[in-house]
Symmetry: C2
C-alpha cells in the first residue's frame, strides 16, 4: 500500500467531484477455477485499490458524499481462518491502515444503506464480474432491474477523470511494472531457440512476472502466428525463419500494469522481408512517440502511424495510390485492424470496466465507426499525466485478406495479387508504454532492444 | 485430447450407469479479472473435459439417456472472432473430434430441453462458479428454486464412481503431471538461496508449470511460514535457518493434476530440531505409503500416520501418555489439523465440486466430525485405480496452541509448557501422489529427493 494519506486525499478529491449521495465501491471476491475452493490468484478491483488500497477479497467501502463519512465494510475473520490462512489484521486495523474511520459488517451496511437511501441517491460502478450483480442485489435487497439505474455516470466520469491523471507515486509504480515487463521481453529474446515450444518461452517469462512480486497483467501472447491478435495458444515449435511475437506485461504487487510487445526472429537475423516490414512498424512507432504531447489527439497519432504504414506497404507494392487516400478510406486497416494504443494504469486497458469511451474519448471527441478506427480505444487529446501504450503493427491475416478480396473491398488501393505470396508472413508489432509530460512524453521503464541491429545482436549472441 | 473413442466409451458407460432422463453438462466460460475482456487463463470444467474433451469456453453437452442421442451445444464463430483469435474448428468439426453426432446452438438446445423435459427428468451437476446458475436459468428458462432439485445425486454418484477409477491413458497423463510437478520441486531446492524473496522462487517454479504446456493445478504455497496451511503470501525474504515449505503442482494441457510438497532448509542442512520433526513426518509418510492397497480404509492410514506423529512428538517431550489414546482423543491434531490426503485426477482435489463426501466416503463409511478427522477428504476403503495424495505434516500454529491452552484442551496429553519454545518453528509437510494398484500402490512421477540426506546433498551443492 501507499501511505494512508494518499488514499485519504484521493477519496477527498472524489467526494469533491461528486455533488451528493452515497458511493458504494465493491472489492472483488475470490474466483473459482474448477471447484469452489480452488481459486485463481486474487485480483482486487482496481477502483477499490485506488481509493482504499486494501488487497483482500470480500471487502466493500461506502462514502457519504454529503456528510463526508467513510466506512470500510467486511467481516472479521475467525480462528478457523487463522489456522488455514495465518493471522490477519482485523477490520478496524485495516480501516486504520487507509485512514477510514468507520467499520461495518455487510449486514450492518445493508441496513444502513436501506435507511439512508430513503433520502439520498446511490452511486455504483458497472458490474463486470459474474457475481458482482448478486452482491449488489443481496446488499441492497433489490432486483437488478431496480439497481441498473444506480450505475452512476457521474461517479464513472469522476473516477475516470481522476484515475486518468497519474500521480507521482503511481508513476514510480508504473516504471517498476514496465521494468519487470522489459525484463520479460529481454529474457524471451535471450532464451528462445529453434526447437523450443512456445510454451517453454512463455513459462520462463511468466515466472519473471511472478518473481517480481505481482503477476501477469494479462495472459501472455507469445506466438509464431503474430497475425492472430489475441493468440494464447503456446503449442507450436519454434523453427528457423519464424518470427516470434511476444506481447506481455507484469503487474506489480500494488496492481500497476506494464504492457509491451517485441517481435524478433527465431533465427539470428531477420529475413529481408521480415526486416522490410519491421522497419515500417518501427518507423510508425518512433514517429508516434515523437508526436506525443499534451493537446495532440491520440486519434491523429493513430492516423499518422497508419499513413507511415500505408506508405511503407505502398513502397513494397502491396498498396496503391495516395497514402492519404488509403488512410482516409481505411484500406491500411487490412494490415493493422487494431488501435494504436490505450490508457494503462491499474488495469492494462485502464478502466475498461467503466467503459472504453469514458476513458479514451470525450463528448466533443467521439469514436469513429470505421473499421480499424472503431478498435482505437484512445482517441481524445492527450493531457499531462496520461499513461498509454504505443503499439503499431502490420499483420497478414489470410482470412481477412480473402474476405476483403471476395467483397471487392478497396480494390483500387490494395494489390491483392501481390499479397498472394505474403499469406504466411505472420505479423509484427512493437509496443511501449509512455507517460505524457508537460512538454512531451517519457518512456516508462528502461529501454529494451528495439532496432533491427540491437535485436539481431542479442539473437546472434544467443545462437552463437 | 485423447482419441475420440475414449470419450465415446466414457459416455456410453455413464449412460449405462444412469437409468433414464436427460443429462446436461455445462462447460466453463471465461472468467474476468479486472475488466470484462481481461480473463484468467481458461480452465474447462473437469467433468466436461472427461466426457467431451473439448477445451473451449461456452460449450455444453446434452445426452439423452433413454435414446442414446448426444449433442454438442455451442455457437459457431464469426469473422471478427477469427481475426482476433485465429481460425477455429466449427461446431460440427468439434463434435466429430469427440464422436458426438448432434450439434445444437444454445437457443436450439433451450427449445429442445423445454420440449423434451415435459416427459423426462433432467440431470445436472452442482454449480460451483459464479455464472453457472445463470447459464442454467437462461437455458432452461426457470428460476434457481425450480432448478435446484435437478441437481442429480444419481448423476453425481455415477460421475464420481467412474472418474474415481483412473484408466490407462489417464494414468499416463498423471505421471506426466507428477513429473512436471517433481521438476518444480527439484528446481525450487536447487534455486532457493538466503536473501531471495519467496516470490522469486515461486515465480521460477510457476514458469516450469507453464513451460510444461499446462499451468498450475492450484496457487503455489511457498513459504517460510509453513504453519500457515494455505499461505499464498510470497513477500518474505529467505534467511539462513529458515525452513521453506513448497506445496505446488502442475496440471498438464489435458487438465490432469500433480500435487506435491517438499520442505527443505534454506541453509545447507537442517537444524537438529528441524531434522527431528522432519524424520517424524517422513516416517509417517513412508509408513502410509506401505499401507496403501485395495481394501484398506484411507481413514486407517490417516490414523496410523497420526500415531507415528504422536509417538514422535512424545519422544520429543511435547505429548504425554499412550500414543493410541492421543490419537483416539485427537490431541495430535493440534500438530496436524488437516487430513492425510485426497483423491487427485482432473482436479487437484478430485471432483470437490461434486461434494467431498461422495468422492472420498461411502454410505457405509461416513466422515468423522472430530477436529482433524473432519478435514480428512478421503476416508473410504481404497480401490484399484484410485489416485491420491499422501501428505502428513507437523505444524506449530501459535494461535491454535494458545487457544487450546486457554480452553484447557487435552491438558493431560499435551505438554503446553514444553511447547513454549516451539512457537516459531513453522511447519513441515511431505507429499507425494500415488496410484492404487491391484496389490499395492505406485508412485506417480519419478522420485524427488526426500530423505534428509538427499535433500541436504542438494542444498550443500547449491550453497557451496
Amino acid at each position: 500500500m501507499f501511505k494512508k494519506e494518499i488514499y485519504k486525499s484521493r477519496r477527498k478529491e472524489l467526494l469533491n467531484r461528486m455533488g451528493s449521495g452515497i458511493i458504494l465501491l465493491i472489492g472483488n471476491d475470490e474466483s473459482s477455477i474448477n471447484f469452489p475452493d480452488n481459486w485463481y490468484r486474487f485480483r482486487q478491483d482496481s477502483t477499490f485499490l485506488y481509493y482504499v488500497g486494501i488487497n483482500k477479497p470480500g471487502m466493500m467501502a461506502c462514502f457519504d458524499v454529503d456528510s463526508g463519512e467513510e466506512w470500510l465494510v467486511g467481516d472479521d475473520i475467525d480462528i478457523d481462518t487463522i489456522i488455514w490462512m495465518g493471522n490477519q489484521p482485523n477490520m478496524k486495523e485495516m480501516a486504520d491502515s487507509t485512514s477510514i474511520n468507520g467499520v461495518m459488517s455487510p449486514s450492518e451496511c445493508s441496513e444502513f444503506l436501506q435507511k439512508r437511501l430513503n433520502s439520498r441517491e446511490l452511486h455504483i460502478l458497472p458490474p463486470y464480474r459474474r457475481g458482482h450483480r448478486n452482491r449488489y442485489k443481496k446488499l441492497l435487497q433489490m432486483g437488478w432491474e431496480d439497481l441498473e439505474n444506480k450505475v452512476s455516470s457521474e461517479l464513472i466520469s469522476a473516477v475516470a477523470e481522476q484515475r486518468n491523471h497519474k500521480s507521482e507515486e503511481e508513476i514510480a509504480e508504473m516504471h517498476r511494472a514496465a521494468n519487470i515487463t522489459g525484463q520479460m521481453h529481454l529474457s524471451a529474446m535471450q532464451y528462445a531457440r529453434p526447437g523450443m515450444k512456445e510454451a517453454e518461452v512463455a513459462g520462463f517469462i511468466n515466472g519473471i512476472a511472478v518473481s517480481g512480486g505481482g503477476d501477469l497483467s494479462f495472459p501472455i501472447i507469445l506466438t509464431k502466428n503474430g497475425q492472430i491478435l489475441h493468440n494464447h495458444y503456446h503449442g507450436n515449435t519454434l523453427s528457423e525463419g519464424d518470427l516470434l511475437l511476444v506481447d506481455c506485461g507484469a503487474e506489480t504487487d500494488m496492481g500497476y500494469a506494464g504492457d509491451m510487445t517485441r517481435t524478433f526472429p527465431v533465427s539470428s537475423s531477420f529475413s529481408s522481408r521480415q526486416k522490410d516490414i519491421y522497419e515500417i512498424v518501427l518507423a510508425a512507432e518512433n514517429n508516434s512517440i515523437d508526436m506525443l504531447k499534451p493537446g495532440v489527439p491520440y486519434r491523429d497519432v493513430h492516423l499518422t502511424a497508419g499513413r507511415i504504414i500505408a506508405e511503407g506497404l505502398k513502397n513494397l507494392g502491396l498498396l496503391n495510390g495516395d497514402p492519404d487516400d488509403i488512410v482516409q478510406e481505411g484500406a491500411h486497416a487490412l494490415f493493422m485492424p487494431h488501435g494504436l494504443g490505450h490508457m494503462i494504469g491499474l488495469d492494462v486497458h485502464d478502466m475498461e470496466n467503466l467503459g472504453e469511451d469514458v476513458v479514451g474519448y470525450t463528448n466533443d471527441f467521439l469514436r469513429s465507426p470505421q473499421f480499424g478506427l472503431k478498435s482505437l480505444r484512445l482517441g481524445r487529446p492527450l493531457e499531462e499525466g496520461f499513461a498509454l501504450t504505443v503499439e503499431p503493427g502490420i499483420y497478414f491475416i489470410p482470412e481477412l485478406i480473402r474476405q476483403w478480396k471476395v467483397d471487392n473491398k478497396h480494390t483500387q488501393l490494395i494489390n491483392f495479387d501481390a499479397l498472394e505470396s505474403w499469406y504466411d508472413f505472420g505479423g509484427i508489432r512493437i509496443e511501449e508504454d509512455y507517460l505524457i509530460t508537460a512538454n512531451g512524453a517519457e518512456l516508462l521503464g528502461e529501454p529494451v532492444a528495439k532496432s533491427v541491429k540491437d535485436v539481431e545482436e542479442i539473437r546472434k549472441e544467443v545462437l552463437a
